[in-house]
Symmetry: C2
Subunit: 439 residues, 2 copies
């Protein structure tokens, strides 16, 4: 809620062009484009950049210019920029701030980046409970000239800085001028502890449709406020992180086209190699059934079809459960309900695919030149395997997120590829076991 950016200045065409090309430009080109902007445009442009881009630009400019740009930022944004810098540059950047801000920023840097404390602004408008409404409005008018994050939500503190209540400017506007702040303020507040994770904070905003949430420490002392405009970015980022993980890669933590090639490969190769190692179990599983395969080569025809069906149904289940967990719709203790639900889903989905598969097998052997004895039995074996494999895949996919969370890991690691890997080995075993029983 930096005043400059929240006032909705649309970039004129030069700033817009720069913004469009940004992802493709080198630091030098960015700096060059930035210098072409007129002073007001440049300020808006700078304030609209991500913390990482601001940091990069700051370090690219001559040291003498940095102070001006860094001081343009609110303390929470300045803290983000400094956090984005390398260890070696942090102190240097901190020294560019005025004494008061430096103290505020240092306090903010003590919080983990994705805690409520790391997101909050320490500059909130405050009132005493025994002021009159009229005094409060006058006092706020004065605070509006200082750099507070917002004057629309005002926090009422006691002399020890403990949070007593909150009042909106709109409430003050409509209250009787002689009333006391104490009588107008709301006292049942949604607050966040300074160590609340930003994902949980996002859910709190989404659930209560709030514009700002006060952040308190364990003694109830107000440390800062988080405003909803910062939360849009958080919700976006957290979703991106989960999507990347669900796709079987580490979160990129930066726009796709801006990630260097080396980093990109590194973020992907880890999981890929791990999944590959897991997949080598399929060699062992297949090895068990080499004799059966040697006797009936046509059995191999259906291996990809059957194991991929397990992977696909597992990917569906895992994705649904992981997202429901991230949104707080499903908690650890709901695992048994989910298990029963997915057992039924898995059986139903398996039955549907099983029925389709009978037609597929019959048609295939009808039309192909191969002559297979008892291909009716073959169809039955494929259909039954599908019921088993899909049910297993669905259960594995839905339970894996619970297991990961139970052991303190991120449920989003239950990615489509991981679930497919887990269900492939089981798929092979189920298929060959059923086939050798029936044929």
């Amino acid at each position: 809620m930096t005043p400059q950016t929240s006032e909705a200045v649309e970039p004129t065409s030069l700033a817009e062009d720069l913004s469009d090309a940004w992802g493709m430009l080198s630091v030098e080109d960015r700096m060059e484009g930035f210098r072409l902007l007129d002073p007001v445009e440049a300020e808006d442009f700078f304030l609209g950049l991500s913390a990482r881009d601001q940091e990069e630009l700051l370090l690219a400019m001559p040291a003498a210019e940095r102070r001006r740009w860094l001081r343009l930022l609110d303390p929470d944004d300045a803290a983000d920029v400094i956090q984005a810098a390398d260890e070696e540059h942090r102190e240097e950047l901190l020294q560019l701030l005025d004494e008061g801000t430096k103290r505020e920023v240092r306090a903010l840097l003590a919080y983990a980046e994705d805690d409520a404390g790391g997101l909050m602004s320490p500059r909130f408008a405050r009132l005493r409970p025994d002021m009159s409404v009229d005094e409060a409005i006058t006092y706020l008018r004065r605070q509006a000239r200082e750099r507070v994050e917002t004057i629309y939500y005002v926090y009422v503190l006691d002399e020890r800085q403990r949070l007593l209540g909150a009042v909106s400017l709109k409430q003050l506007f409509t209250a009787s001028p002689a009333a006391k702040v104490r009588d107008v303020m709301e006292t049942d507040l949604v607050t966040a502890h300074e160590e609340m994770d930003q994902e949980a904070l996002g859910l709190l905003f989404a659930r209560h449709d709030l514009l700002a949430i006060p952040v308190v420490n364990s003694e109830g002392i107000l440390k800062g406020i988080v405003t909803v405009d910062d939360i849009v970015d958080v919700v976006q980022e957290e979703a991106t992180e989960d999507i990347h993980k669900l796709g079987g890669t580490q979160a990129l933590d930066a726009p796709y086209l801006e990630v260097g090639f080396g980093t990109m490969v590194r973020k992907r190769v880890g999981w890929l190699a791990l999944l590959f190692a897991g997949q080598t179990l399929t060699i062992t599983a297949m090895g068990h059934f080499q004799d059966a395969l040697a006797r009936a080569v046509f059995l191999s025809l259906f291996i990809p079809l059957i194991i991929s069906s397990g992977g696909n149904s597992g990917s569906q289940a895992a994705t649904l459960v992981v997202r429901a967990m991230a949104l707080g719709e499903v908690r650890l203790r709901d695992w048994w309900r989910v298990f029963l639900r997915e057992l039924r889903s898995g059986l139903s989905l398996g039955l549907v695919l099983g029925v389709i598969s009978i037609a597929v097998v019959l048609i295939h052997f009808q039309w192909s030149a191969e002559v297979v004895e008892h291909f009716g039995r073959m169809a039955l074996a494929v259909a039954l395997s599908l019921v088993g494999v899909v049910t297993w895949g669905t259960l594995a996919g839905s339970m894996l997120p619970f297991i990961l969370r139970r052991f303190g890991m991120d449920p989003a690691a239950a990615s489509a590829p991981m679930v497919a890997t887990v269900s492939d080995v089981a798929g092979i075993m189920i298929y060959f076991t059923i086939a050798s029983l029936i044929l």
Copy 2:
């Protein structure tokens, strides 16, 4: 930004319990729990529900009580509730509103639910350009008593209701009282057209850190405003939709535990059956190589390993590209850059897996009882196949979203299972072709 909800009233324990259990309760149980809340609690609770839940609760209560609850809602929220109802109940609910609101809600219902027009509130605070700052503040103080969405961002209109500029209450507070609104207001505004899609609107809020965006029609007439607190939900919903699609299922459009079993299966079986149909191509592909398999059964050992590596790398690429598109980081015209990048990524990742696979194959044949002539060649065949399959999977995964978008479809349909299906057939062909050339 309903005043009641934005004022951060924390649910006391009864409301909290009800909220926790909500997903598991039948409509009757919900109604019963709702009746236990005291009047103030009940209002906050009702306002905190999703439009769908509000609608359900409304229709569950006696007709005589509905008016009171529906009238509690702002027009944009009332419109959402009415949109959530069946055709047959819509007119009935509309008739419960007062004349003015009914007109506003009818106008909102004309917009698609996920357009800017469907999200906006028509109740914004407005000023004339020739008012003085002092007059403006007095006038706003009067508007604050009416039910405007916010008085913190005020829009300046000409006599034909065209948007001239915007001014924040904070700016009015700090301006000279005698200045004209015209001289204080910002005129370069970020605006949204009434038909802008909500996903694009979410990006606009995220990019510019705005608290409210005015919605205009093609003539520049201000139709309403969208506030950021509504956008948090939109961003959350859009991400959920994409995550569900990427997992290979239709978007659920409701919390996991609240979706009926039938609906749940229906949303999953469609894609699953379609992918199954696609996978039957692997039968044909495998059929082509039955002779080779009959001669060398050990070839089948590596089929699951090789095809799943193609699927996994494709899933990574597709997920990264789909998310980058949704965030506006990658556009249609970037396809060639992405192609080149993913070609390099695919080759690198394939090489890594290829090298690992040589060790895997050698160790496997070393330790197993099977005697395979030339198992060095086998290792080479597997390694080369992996390079080919992973490169192909990566390219297919990264290009599929572009192809889907090019033809007006949702890129998120390039799900992990879909990419795996596309790459399995190719994987089989690549593997057997290379194997028969080398062995």
